[in-house]
Symmetry: C2
Subunit: 236 residues, 2 copies
Amino acid sequence: MVIEAIGFDGDDTLWQSETAFAITHDRVRALLASHVPRDVLDAQLLETERRNLEIYGYGVKAFTLSMIETALDLAGEALTAADVRALLDAGKELLAHPVEMLPGAEDAVRWASAQGLQVVLITKGDLFHQESKVARSGLGELVDAVEVVAEKDVATYQRALRRNRVDPTNFVMVGNALRSDAAPVLELGGWAVHVPHPLTWALEAADDEDALRASPRFREVPSLIEIPTVIPTLDH
Amino acid sequence: MVIEAIGFDGDDTLWQSETAFAITHDRVRALLASHVPRDVLDAQLLETERRNLEIYGYGVKAFTLSMIETALDLAGEALTAADVRALLDAGKELLAHPVEMLPGAEDAVRWASAQGLQVVLITKGDLFHQESKVARSGLGELVDAVEVVAEKDVATYQRALRRNRVDPTNFVMVGNALRSDAAPVLELGGWAVHVPHPLTWALEAADDEDALRASPRFREVPSLIEIPTVIPTLDH
C-alpha cells in the first residue's frame, strides 16, 4: 500500500475529551445559575475562549482561566470567593479526569504498529496535560513519536513530518476534526481518515467541508474499528 | 572540536523570564497587602506552586492559577471579584510581556549556527507561550529544532537527542539551571555550560551542586558573550 506512516489525533479520536469538558461545563452552569442564565453563559464562554485563544492557546488551563473570566464578566461583584474556588476545582478535576479510550483505539494503534507503519501521535493542547494523557493511555510504547503542537496548520504538519522523515504522500492522518486533522494534510498531498465524534468543539468547524469531502484522498469511517479495513484501500 | 550539536535553554538563558515573574509577584503582593502579610504570601505561593506542579506543569497559566488559589487560601471570603480580576490581568500581562533577550544571546546562537553546529532550543514550560516567545525572539530561523518539553530529565534529553540524531558525547547544553540544564546532560555523557542568572526559581535548585561542578565536562561562564570562547575548548 501507499501508506508508510500514520498519524493519530488524541483528544476525541483516541480518547474522550469533549465529554469531560461538557460535564464540567454543565457543573459551571449549575454553579453560576443564580448569577446568570444558561444561554448567556454559553455564548459568553465561547466568546471568551475565542478571544483568549491567541493569548492562552488550547487546553484545560486555558479553559479554566476563561471560565473564571466569564464568571467575573457576568456575575461581577456578586461572584464569591467560594464560586471562584469551585471553578478552580472544576478545572483541576478536568485535568485529573481518567483517560477513557474510544472504541477500537488501542486495536487501531496496535494494528498500525504491527503492519510496520511509522506511528505518530499528533495532538493539540497543553503539553503537560497531553503528555500525561499519552502516558495514562498506555499507548506510549506503541507509537514511534508524540508531537504535541500549539496549532494544527499546514506549517505544523510540514515540520512534524519532516522531523519524522515522512513524505506527505505516504502519510495518512486519522482524526475527528476536519479543520485540524484533515484539511492541512490533504493540502500537503497526504491522506485523511475522518472519524467523526458527536461532540466537537464549536471552534473546530471547517469552512469548506464539501471541498474536503470531495478530495480523492479523503475517507470517513464511523469508528476506529474500521482502521485496519480502510487504510489498506488508500491508493491512487 | 568534539562538539557537533548545541542546546540552548530559553527562559533566563536566551531571554529574561523570572524578572517578569518577579514584577508580577510584586504586584500581587501589593494587591493582596490588605489581606495578607508579604512573607506569608511568598511562602504559601511557593508551596501552592510546588503542590500543583504535577497537575499544572510549568508556565504562566499554571502560575496564574496558583496565584488565584493562594489568594483564596489566604484571604478566604474577603477576596473580592475585583481582586480575582486583577490576578487574571496580571497573568495575561505576563504572557504578553515583550521578549527581552539577554546579553550575547543572539550572537551566541548566530556563532553556533555559523560554525555548522546543529542548534537545538530545549525549553520547558507552556507549549503555546514558549512557541510564541521563540517567534518573538527572532531566533527561530537560526535554530535547527525547537523542543518544548514538559520536564527536563534524563529521559527527556535522551528522546530529544535521539529525535535529532545527536550523540550525547558530542552535545553541549547551555543554560541557567543546574538541575534542568546541566545535571541530566552530564549524566548522559554530554557537556554542560552553566550561565548563572541572578534570579532563579526556588524550585530549580539542584541538590548536588558540588558534584555537578566537579565534572570534567562542566563549565561555568558569566554570560553568553563567552560562548564562542568556551565551546571550542570542550575536549577530553
